[in-house]
């Protein structure tokens, strides 16, 4: 597991380096890569973009290094704050937000929508084809509720609906609750 994590870290660092290299192709002189016409954009812009990328790369590396410690005896994730802080964080529950999310989950149609989105982003007509029992206007209003609760996000350009990380977690949690209830009924 430790070796796998190390390998993942190494790959991620390579990917970040790759992204930086790709960005260079945007700002590098075209004539260095192939023939054609060129415009020069000025070193301030080039420096600015380079600064941005360096900032991102350093940020990612810094966070990785602060959060994950790889030593001679293996790898461990550093959790900031002791048990006390974790306990305190648990106490700071945003109840209105939780209630909104729970309320959004509290409808059979909305759970079905989340279920469809678990397999990937979908356009509203694709959802409509899958969920024939829901009318188009009702589907739109359900999606609005889910979006407001932060369980779904809509792409503004393509228009697809995507399930968010909290949405995925909430859906899994709701199915687990259903399983617990089912098990309780069987007992």
């Amino acid at each position: 597991m430790t070796e796998e994590l190390k390998e993942e870290m190494r790959k991620l660092k390579e990917e970040i380096a790759g992204l930086k290299d790709q960005l260079k192709t945007i700002t590098q002189p075209e004539h260095e890569r192939r023939g054609g016409m060129y415009i020069d954009i000025g070193s301030p812009v080039h420096d600015y973009v380079q600064d941005v990328m360096n900032g991102v790369a350093q940020g990612v590396h810094g966070e990785l290094e602060r959060s994950i410690f790889i030593g001679p005896r293996g790898c461990r994730i550093i959790r900031r704050g002791g048990p006390y802080q974790q306990e305190r964080e648990e106490e700071q529950v945003d109840f209105p937000r939780v209630a909104e999310a729970m309320s959004a989950l509290g409808h059979e149609h909305r759970l079905k929508i989340l279920n469809e989105l678990m397999s990937g982003g979908k356009y509203i007509n694709e959802l409509q084809e899958k969920l024939t029992e829901i009318t188009t206007s009702t589907l739109s209003s359900h999606l609005d509720v889910l979006e407001k609760a932060g369980l779904v996000v809509q792409e503004k350009v393509r228009g697809r609906y995507l399930i968010t990380m909290p949405g995925r977690t909430a859906y899994k949690m709701s199915t687990q609750i259903a399983n617990f209830i089912k098990q309780g009924d069987e007992q």
Binding site: L23, G42, G120
Partner: protein, 196 residues
């Protein structure tokens, strides 16, 4: 190579709504009658500074195996912004205008031009860039802050705003925001949440 960019003196305006850039990730549109001043190099337009009503929409969202991260970015463009590249598609839709009310825009455009290129109207550059048929640069002015920058080349997108950096190349993305940092490659990702 040494080149000079200059801000043209002629005031122009768009004769119809224009889409300056559009992909499945984002779109920049400006309304009819948006003012424009050409940025020239050796007398030829290489880009424009626009001022009017416009809108930037960019889906700064990353799809990961654990769910989508980020929100769409929507920015109303009422302050001057700069576009470098692709002038051949814009120039035919610009007409000259002599409206006296344009002086405010002229001053704003000059200030923004100076601010963006730092060294003034004519300055030396020794750095190359993709040909403008393929690459575009947008800079959006921000009061009391560095301009938001959008660099585009085919499917590659780099967007840097005050509180967000978004880099995308097809299925490989990086999103850095105050809430989290996400690095994703074909859905596989690492997500680091901010510690407040």
């Amino acid at each position: 190579m040494w080149h000079h960019y200059e801000l043209d003196s002629a005031m122009l305006k768009t004769d119809q709504p224009l889409t300056l850039w559009k992909t499945d990730r984002g779109i920049i549109e400006i309304d009819k009658d948006t003012f424009a001043i050409a940025i020239t190099q050796d007398g030829k337009p290489q880009g424009y500074i626009f001022n009017g009503n416009g809108k930037l929409t960019l889906d700064t969202i990353i799809e990961t195996e654990q769910g989508a991260v980020g929100k769409p970015t929507e920015k109303t463009l009422t302050e001057p912004f700069l576009m470098l590249g692709n002038p051949q598609n814009i120039t035919p839709h610009l007409t000259t205008t002599t409206n006296e009310n344009n002086k405010e825009f002229t001053t704003k455009a000059e200030n923004f031009f100076h601010h963006f290129f730092k060294n003034g109207k004519t300055f030396n550059m020794n750095c190359g860039c993709h040909h403008h048929d393929e690459g575009l640069i947008f800079a959006f002015s921000n009061p009391n802050n560095r301009p938001d920058l959008l660099v585009l080349n085919d499917s590659k997108i780099v967007y840097k705003a005050k509180h967000m950096t978004f880099v995308s190349d097809e299925n490989r993305d990086v999103l850095k925001s105050p809430e989290h940092m996400v690095v994703s490659n074909h859905g596989r990702c690492i997500i680091i949440k901010a510690h407040n």
